[in-house]
């Protein structure tokens, strides 16, 4: 992803992710990765921990953008990403007690990230966990289709291009079939339980 991505509006970035998905997010990851490593190593000497924080930061950012919660008027892409990365790094340092005096600076972006992380934790219900198990029993193509559709939020056109479907109708009929199979697996596992 080019340097200009820093000036993209939230909705433009959202569109790009929905159209190009993983390719775009990996490009974004690569674009700032080395710079973030240098930045992170100001706070922590472990490159692994800094990289883990960067992974989590880009993943959270991706989801925030897809959910339409990123407001480019408040901060640029890079600033926002580095803020999440810093937050992730500090949280990890705190957990590992590597640094007893970690003070989170006041930053308006922190509250958004905090809310986002808490919200995500609430979502990992027992039902969702059961569904994850059922998902793993689905065929690879169904797993891929449902992930592209419901996690990456790909447009149908992008799915056609990525998975080689003939047209929109085929995508929807295959998706229905996958959901039906998943539902059956899910209900079976619920009965067993």
């Amino acid at each position: 992803m080019p340097e200009h991505s820093n000036q993209l509006k939230g909705s433009q970035l959202q569109n790009r992710f929905r159209k190009e998905g993983m390719k775009a997010v990996v490009a974004l990851y690569k674009q700032y990765r080395n710079e973030f490593c240098q930045f992170g190593q100001r706070y922590c000497s472990s490159k692994e921990l800094v990289l883990e924080s960067w992974h989590d930061a880009v993943l959270d950012f991706y989801e925030i953008v897809l959910a339409g919660k990123f407001d480019a008027k408040k901060s640029g892409v890079k600033t926002f990403l580095f803020t999440i990365g810093k937050y992730k790094l500090f949280t990890k340092l705190k957990k590992e007690h590597r640094n007893q005096i970690v003070i989170l600076e006041k930053d308006s972006n922190f509250s958004l990230i905090d809310n986002w992380s808490n919200n995500q934790q609430e979502h990992s219900t027992e039902q969702a966990e059961q569904l994850q198990k059922a998902l793993k029993k689905l065929g690879e193509r169904c797993q891929q289709l449902l992930t592209l559709f419901y996690y990456h939020d790909y447009s149908v056109e992008a799915i056609i291009q990525n998975m080689g479907y003939k047209n929109k109708e085929v995508v929807y009929s295959h998706k229905s079939r996958c959901i039906r199979q998943l539902k059956e697996l899910f209900e079976k596992s619920a009965l067993i339980k």
């Binding site: 992803m1 159209k19 690569k30 969702a128 059922a134 998902l135």
Partner: protein, 250 residues
């Protein structure tokens, strides 16, 4: 009970918060009255949560691959720098270069008919016929920068610039396809060139067909290359007919 395709799409748009107010309210009323529809929605909501770990896991793998790639390129740069400061390595480097040249010569002789060799022998850069000098809109500037970067073979910059354009103009798609081809992003290059080749309204459609043949060759998809090649040969007034005749695919 099976959900009909219209309702399926309606539920997805609702989940993605894409429905206009009126349609949303209408659907909410139906959800209150139709248990099958309500159940289908909650299943989809559950899937949205359930696929998250799978999606994240897959992306993490891609990030780890990117880490390896970036670390390798950083390491090779440092190795090159170290080597350049040690003159005593010169004889070894010279010997290695001779060995590589010899190897290449042998490979060239023995391997002259491989798809990649055919690609190299027949690939010529497609000229920049569109780079607008007009500095009117910002999109046009980026397009001009993209095509100019392509022209000077700076494919990394060209890719970045093209990615800024949404959507890419019809006539510029071939340059994006060739940029991807030169960047070895084969799957994407073939997809892009297929779009150009199948679009009768694209002024570079025939060029698209020719470069698609070459892209297939570069990607060692000989059967697909042959089909695309035959298509050109079957059209005597094709702009690339002469070039296609020079290319022999057994």
């Amino acid at each position: 009970m099976e959900l009909n395709p219209e309702d399926d799409q309606l539920l997805d748009s609702y989940l993605k918060e894409e429905l206009p107010q009126v349609a949303r309210e209408k659907l909410q009323k139906r959800l209150a009255q139709e248990p099958v529809l309500a159940e289908a929605l909650s299943m989809r909501q559950l899937i949205s949560k359930g696929v998250k770990p799978l999606g994240r896991q897959h992306l993490k793998k891609l990030f780890q691959e990117a880490d390896k790639e970036l670390d390798a390129s950083t390491n090779s740069t440092s190795i090159n720098l170290l080597q350049s400061s040690k003159p005593s390595l010169f004889p070894w480097l010279a010997a290695a270069s001779i060995a590589i040249l010899l190897g290449l010569a042998i490979w060239w002789t023995l391997d002259s008919s491989t798809p990649n060799r055919l690609y190299l022998a027949h690939y010529e850069p497609f000229p920049n016929l569109i780079a607008p000098i007009d500095k009117g809109g910002s999109n046009e500037d980026v397009l001009a920068e993209a095509v100019q970067a392509y022209e000077r073979a700076d494919y990394a910059t060209a890719t970045q610039k093209f990615e800024l354009l949404e959507p890419i103009e019809k006539d510029a798609r071939i340059y994006y396809g060739l940029t991807l081809l030169q960047s070895n992003q084969m799957k994407e290059a073939i997809a892009e060139l297929t779009l150009v080749a199948s679009d009768k309204d694209n002024r570079f459609q025939q060029a698209g067909e020719w470069y698609l043949v070459l892209a297939y060759l570069k990607n060692k998809e000989v059967a697909a290359a042959k089909i695309a090649h035959q298509k050109i040969l079957a059209t005597p007034n094709h702009r690339y007919f002469g070039k296609a005749k020079e290319l022999v695919l057994d």
